[in-house]
């Protein structure tokens, strides 16, 4: 008797749980359709939410403290949440869908166009952020159809690190490397003394496209025409290096981190890598030159780095405060400190001058950023991810010998066209 009563009690409890769960999901789905801002902040006071892709910075870090300081100056409390870069895009899209976007979102630059076309972001005209002093080529990633959707925190880019010891032993002067031909000649000399030539990230992800772009653009190719002779020349350069043993076979699967680890072994003469490695490069005595274009001069390099954006809110009165916080975070003195910690180059001339004043060795990076291009620029916007995916697929096919550079790129172009017109 007791047992059956207990059993029915458990049954009832389970049923109650079940219905509660059903009711709860019912609740959340109705909330999502109705929308609701997570920011309890009104125009003055309250809590503002701030998302960034820097989980490496804890609450006690200088960055987190700067964020809360700028909040205090604007008269609000900031609740900062850090996500992994990839997770942040998904989180931002989901939050936009649920109508509870953060008040301020710091997001990787090629994602800006994606979020903007999803209608999640406000334009600078709506939120009142000033963009005047920012270098146009860095701001480019945030401009879609003439509208600007955010301001850059800074920029990083790619260059060619070299190991001076190896170059000296091989009798190569770094200043002689001014074109593809001179670089390949240098690689041949390095190989002749039994050292390894160059390492880069040729992986089939966005990182692979990012690393291939300096050569692609350096040949004069355009992202709207993946199978142009210039593009084929760029891909042929990479595949020949692999075939001739100037680059290791592992570049096909290398990320920028693993390719850097290879460079750090001290066996490689060159390593294509980003601004963020300059501290570890200095430790091992590596120096840096700009990536050469095919026929001389510096190749345009893609910009990396995040953008401050202000997502759409139900309560538009919050924009002014959010803009105030962003202006504080991106003011020259603050952004120079931040960019020095993040190993970024400031997006404004004043910021760059301030950085150079404290560290003159940044000059080559400042020049590299000066000739850099936004991946989503040229008004490509959300077409860029589609093109990029086809590009890294073609690069993979050619690197691994599954297809010739020409046929891989032709397939990529037709696939990209089909996907864009879908």
């Amino acid at each position: 008797m007791h047992r059956s009563r207990r059993a029915s009690a458990i049954g009832a409890a389970l049923l109650a749980l079940g219905t509660a769960a059903a009711a709860l999901t019912g609740c959340s789905s109705s909330a999502s359709s109705g929308g609701g801002s997570s920011s309890s902040g009104s125009s003055a006071g309250g809590t503002y939410t701030f998302w960034d892709p820097y989980p490496q910075y804890s609450a006690s870090s200088a960055w987190a403290q700067l964020v809360s300081k700028c909040g205090t100056e604007a008269g609000v409390t900031i609740k900062r949440t850090a996500y992994d870069t990839t997770a942040l895009t998904t989180q931002a899209l989901l939050a936009g869908q649920q109508g509870n976007s953060p008040d301020i979102l710091l997001v990787d630059n090629p994602v800006v166009s994606t979020l903007a076309s999803a209608g999640i972001l406000t334009t600078t005209a709506q939120n009142g952020l000033a963009t005047g002093a920012i270098a146009q080529n860095i701001l480019g990633a945030g401009v879609i159809n003439g509208k600007t959707y955010g301001v850059p925190i800074g920029a990083n880019t790619l260059a060619l690190y070299y190991n001076p010891t190896i170059l000296k032993a091989a009798g190569v002067s770094p200043t002689s490397i001014t074109s593809w031909a001179t670089l390949t000649a240098a690689l041949a000399k390095v190989k002749a003394i039994g050292k390894k030539g160059i390492t880069f990230a040729g992986i089939n992800t966005e990182e692979g496209s990012f690393q291939f772009l300096p050569w692609f653009w350096g040949a004069g190719a355009s992202l709207t025409n993946l199978d142009s002779p210039q593009a084929i020349a760029a891909l042929t350069l990479w595949t020949t290096w692999i075939k001739d043993g100037y680059a290791p076979n592992s570049v096909i699967g290398d990320t920028q981190t693993t390719s850097w680890q290879e460079f750090q072994t001290g066996d490689f003469a060159f390593g294509e890598n980003g601004t963020w490695q300059k501290a570890t490069a200095a430790q091992m005595g590596a120096k840096v030159i700009q990536i050469p274009a095919e026929n001389g001069g510096s190749a345009p390099v893609p910009t990396g780095g995040e953008f401050f954006t202000i997502p759409v809110q139900k309560n538009t009165a919050t924009y002014a405060t959010s803009a105030k916080i962003v202006s504080c975070l991106s003011s020259t003195s603050n952004i120079v400190t931040t960019d020095n910690t993040l190993n970024y180059i400031a997006p404004t001339q004043a910021g760059q001058q301030a950085q150079l004043a404290t560290d003159a060795s940044l000059q080559s990076w400042v020049s590299a950023v000066g000739v850099a291009k936004a991946r989503t620029g040229d008004n490509l916007g959300t077409k860029y991810p589609i093109i990029s995916q086809q590009m890294w697929t073609a690069v993979q096919k050619a690197e691994s010998g599954a297809a010739s550079p020409a046929s891989a790129l032709q397939a990529a172009q037709s696939a990209a066209t089909a996907a864009i017109n879908k």
Partner: protein, 324 residues
């Protein structure tokens, strides 16, 4: 409840029925409806759970795959109905054929080797000998390791230039094999890792299956003069058939959805050389900066359909087995 108790109880109930007047029809109906309600009450949690966590996501996935879900629909929530056009696009895509072929090779080669090696080891360990327990435990290690760890270790070992496998092969005069970076070898490389990971599962199930076979059968066979080979093919293998069937089915479903090992080792590359349907679905949905959820859902549904077809084949085969 012991049998005595229940007997006593039913006797008492019979006694009650005989002494008291039969309950009225209304009373009986009420108690029946109460019993019905209680039954529903007990089944409700399961129904709610299944509905929430299985039926609804499945419905959403099907719904997603027959709509054109763009970035804008992410926010507005309405995606135009697209019929089967996502499926047509997926099937017409140049990635479809390689992905399907790779999935087929990956699944069948994995299962064949995992099952054969697992069964051989189970038979080997069945005759317990000194240290057999320790050795068997060692074979379980791959199962205990997080997949991230084992896949990363495999990709280090199979590295072209600095991997231990290539240095070993070079000692025998075999030239460098680009395990992870050549289109010819990358599928083989992920297959080797996946087979290694799947052996313990097969070993454990087949071993427990072996223990359910009565020792008398083997003894009788031995007396009749059957040798080891005959005992295996005439007794062990046929008697293990039900266990084998469920092991193969589970292995099939597990292998069909394998993602982590391939993603960590080759990311489906180079090109599409090791791209399976599961990898492709992920690449479409989350692999680029611009998610294409509808196509990803379509590929995911194709995977589900394949799994369902094989489960039905299994159920049919089982029913036939039970009938005979």
């Amino acid at each position: 409840m012991t049998t005595e108790q229940s007997k006593a109880r039913s006797a008492a109930r019979n006694g009650d029925g005989a002494v008291l007047a039969a309950p009225s029809r209304a009373q009986r109906a009420r108690s029946r409806s109460r019993a019905q309600l209680a039954a529903w009450g007990f089944i409700a949690p399961v129904v709610v759970y299944l509905g929430l966590f299985y039926a609804y996501p499945l419905y959403r996935n099907v719904d997603l795959s027959i709509r054109s879900y763009t970035l804008a629909s992410f926010i507005t929530g309405d995606a135009p109905f697209a019929g089967f056009s996502n499926y047509v696009n997926v099937i017409e895509s140049s990635t479809f054929a390689p992905a399907l072929i790779n999935t087929t090779i990956f699944v069948f080669a994995s299962i064949a080797f995992q099952f054969a090696i697992g069964l051989a080891l189970a038979v080997f360990f069945f005759r317990s000998f000194r240290l057999s327990g320790v050795l068997r435990a060692l074979f379980l290690v791959p199962w205990l390791l997080p997949l991230l760890v084992s896949a990363s270790t495999w990709s280090w070992m199979l590295d072209s230039d600095s991997g231990v496998v290539n240095s070993f092969l070079q000692a025998f005069g075999i030239g460098q094999i680009d395990w992870l970076t050549s289109p010819r070898w990358s599928l083989v490389a992920v297959l080797i890792a996946n087979i290694w990971i799947g052996i313990p599962f097969n070993l454990v199930i087949m071993y427990s299956g072996l223990q359910s076979i009565s020792a008398e059968v083997f003894e009788a066979a031995a007396i009749d003069g059957a040798n080891g080979w005959q005992r295996f093919w005439r007794i062990t293998f046929p008697l293990l058939r039900p266990v084998s069937a469920i092991t193969l089915l589970l292995g099939f479903v597990y292998t069909l959805k394998v993602f982590d090992i391939i993603w960590i080792m080759t990311r489906g590359g180079p090109g599409t050389a090791s791209t399976t349907l599961a990898i492709w679905s992920y690449q479409l949905g989350f692999g680029s900066l611009l998610p294409d959820f509808s196509s990803a859902a379509a590929v995911g549904n194709l995977l589900i359909i394949i799994a369902v077809i094989f489960s039905l084949v299994y159920i049919r085969a089982r029913r036939r087995l039970e009938l005979t």
